[in-house]
Symmetry: C2
Subunit: 142 residues, 2 copies
Amino acid sequence: MEMETITEDQKVMTAKKIKKMFGHINPKDHPEYCPIKDVMALASDKWSILIIIYLGYYPVLRFNQLKKKVYGISNKVLSERLKLLEGDGYLNRKMYPEVPVRVEYQLTDFGHSYLEKLLELTEWVTTYSDMIMANRSRYSKQ
Amino acid sequence: MEMETITEDQKVMTAKKIKKMFGHINPKDHPEYCPIKDVMALASDKWSILIIIYLGYYPVLRFNQLKKKVYGISNKVLSERLKLLEGDGYLNRKMYPEVPVRVEYQLTDFGHSYLEKLLELTEWVTTYSDMIMANRSRYSKQ
DNA sequence: CGGCATCCGAGTAGATACTG
DNA sequence: CAGTATCTACTCGGATGCCG
């Protein structure tokens, strides 16, 4: 775990960023409303993340295509997440009233903008996931 | 939602990044093991995010100090998250056997490294949270 | 007093079957 | 095909109480 090199300068920079961000949300004024918590609860949900990533890779996907990609997700949860993600503006839903009906999902530009930031995180995570998982199982055996 | 400007070039770059990332995880070989899902489920949980951010701002925090900062979290959930986050290597727990006992939490360098990436995302989110929340309530009233 | 363990209710996930 | 309906199982979260 010691391969990361974080300087004191970086820590100071980080603290400044946080302070600026907190200036924007100000938890003292609206303790019950926290954008980070409320927005991220959906946007950084494990299923949402995979949906957004796959829609960033394949320009358009239909419901059952997505279901195959996002391994392990159920109809119900996929349907719910798609609705919520559409509601927050990350993706578009287009229905073609053919028989059988065709429904296509694709990221909005807003969703693409989010994905760019999100990928920074998931790239970091995939780089260190083996280490994290090893650490996790070691820790759980204490 | 149209204030984001995403070029086709950016979308191509994004797809390449994803492909590279997927090359690393390869869902066909291990469909049941997905680092993104498994690691992010903890790391991008709404409570975890706030805990990590506050520990990035205050170098050291005790249990009840954290509890006051992370508005709305219960003892149980805070205690669980701290244990899991320690297990994955994001933070350290130091106990001083005084009376009453004092327990201090602080980010590891690994945690700081994660926080740097995480902040990219939360800064984006706080910038657009008002828009997202407005969109959300409009959408839910249909 | 600070942190942790236990209990219990509510909400969420998953499996399956079914429909426009 | 793209979901919905239903049922069950379970996880999660909140309250409470305990212990060093």
